[in-house]
């Protein structure tokens, strides 16, 4: 039951050693890596696992699978205000892995390493015994004591989100039911936009410094806007009121809002957005918005924090909206 070691060493040498550009990683020739934060900094560590046909489709382009596995981790770091430094890759290969697949997978990592200035510093490659399994531990850095938590918000803070919401969840619905979005009036460009948003998250790495300077609490939106807002409300022991009319929408999601209201609402509460949800004190909002804009990452105010018991409430058309009416919203 030992892993197929000759393969493992050769594939590390061929595909992964070139990604290990940090001297501490020793070209992945040792069992462990030495690492330390720069003076005055501390590390932020996060680990996300992804399984074939659970978190991505096994047949997706290998470059995209690699990028998604890395990016969902970078998204967590950005939400904590951390600059990404390095990552360890756990790769559980199915029995039918091929060199060409792995070459494309490594090339996806290589492209993202350049895009996001991170380096592979270690990891492990095994036979998973079954489907492709990925596990990345990403390491970021923040000045000591400045990591932004889910908790930390205060009543009166304003709730912001980056980018647009619901695109990836709508893209996933199309993957599971091809033709669905076309039947609801989306054109090919709109459908492609949503599919790409599902396939390739865009972690808001460039917003990390702005989050650190101006946000009282932050987290990335991976389980859906409403569920994650509920997590943040609970962590901060606040109530968060979200005005659904203010939630930023892409053009295709605006079409769906009219043509498929239930699908639209369920996408809003879907997942895989990898946008950042932040609470920002009122006196910081102008600086926060300006800094976000200048970093190329627009933010939208979608609500406010009030004294409360860790729940969320929704408004629509200036009226309270019962959470129970949101298709697919999951309670915790």
């Amino acid at each position: 039951m030992a892993a197929d070691r000759p393969h493992e060493f050769e594939l590390i040498r061929r595909y992964f050693a070139p990604l290990a550009t940090d001297p501490g990683s020793l070209g992945l020739t040792d069992d462990a890596t030495v690492f330390k934060p720069a003076p005055g900094m501390e590390l932020v560590l996060t680990k996300d696992m992804l399984a074939a046909d659970v978190h991505f489709f096994a047949g997706d382009p290998p470059e995209a699978i690699a990028a998604k596995a890395l990016r969902v981790n970078l998204s967590d770091l950005a939400a904590k205000g951390a600059r990404p430094c390095a990552y360890l890759l756990g790769l559980g290969l199915p029995d039918d892995w091929s060199a060409s697949w792995l070459e494309r997978f490594a090339s996806g990592l290589s492209g993202d390493q350049a895009a996001f200035d991170v380096a592979l510093i270690g990891g492990d490659t095994i036979r998973s015994g079954q489907s492709l399994q990925l596990s990345i531990t990403a390491i970021g850095e923040v000045p000591e004591g400045t990591a932004v938590r889910r908790s930390g918000g205060q009543a009166g803070d304003l709730l912001y989100v980056t980018g647009t919401i619901g695109d990836a969840a709508a893209g996933l619905k199309e993957r599971l039911d091809p033709g669905l979005l076309s039947r609801h009036g989306l054109d090919e460009a709109g459908i492609q936009h949503l599919l790409t948003r599902y396939l390739l998250p865009q972690p808001r790495v460039r917003l990390a410094g702005t989050i650190r300077l101006h946000a009282s609490a932050a987290m990335d939106v991976s389980d859906g806007l409403l569920a994650d807002a509920a997590h943040m409300a609970k962590a901060s022991s606040l109530s968060l009121t979200i005005d659904l009319d203010k939630v930023p929408l892409s053009a295709p999601m605006q079409v769906l809002q009219g043509s498929a209201p239930d699908l639209f609402l369920s996408a809003l509460s879907g997942g895989d957005d990898y946008e950042i949800l932040s609470l920002v004190p009122p006196e910081q909002t102008a600086a926060f918005e300006a800094a976000a804009l200048s970093s190329g990452c627009p933010v939208t105010c979608i609500g406010v924090a009030c004294e409360g018991e860790g729940a969320i409430s929704l408004m629509r058309n200036d009226q309270p909206l019962d959470l129970e009416t949101i298709p697919g919203f999951r309670h915790f």
Copy 2:
């Protein structure tokens, strides 16, 4: 395709939050953990993945599966001379996971956390879509610049190994072919010893300080003594000569040496020992042996490093032994 989140949050709260005893881990309620080495220290990071029916048997006791996943990582840290501090756990659950299984798994981690003084600081729990998949990233600490590498040995250094070799590989052979060891003359106690050595590695955590003080190179033996010695020879650009007659054997392996010579030799070159292989300069050997003994972890000198090209050579009965005669030895 989203993970079954209500389950995930509840199981983290119930089973894993109690393991997160470090304040930086925030009871696992955030997306990331803040961590930094103590002043003057640097981190050693390692990551080992394990898959059901590849690295352990799916039906093994959950406590043992948990302990093995953690211990194989602690073994890597010990071989680098690092004191273990913390770990992140990636847990890919099969669809048929049960609360009672998970409770026992968490209890296995809890016992090892106490035994080895480490704490869970983060991780991720997903549906694997298939079999149980584990990925642990372990973090250790060493004084800056003192981590011990696979490389670093010099000609004339003596080659040491901890504990006994081949037990786990013989135990695995019994798991795959029940009755095998009995047919070769082992009694029940001997068989149980070998089975336990396979099921539950004993990482040489207490030897870390001794390795750091006295070894010029070290690594743990996970792929088999001969294969890993070959890795070390290559990393240090040395030749390593191993005297097979000096390789430390448990009593059951001594029986097999006589009753089943081929099985014995293939176990010697098998894997899963999780002992530590070290090169020690001649002037350090007395201190190394004394320190190892006083830490309750005896070491045995099994060979010597010579000028060479990164290969190993074997001696038996004072004669050179052709590597090709070792059943199951894998070339790289």
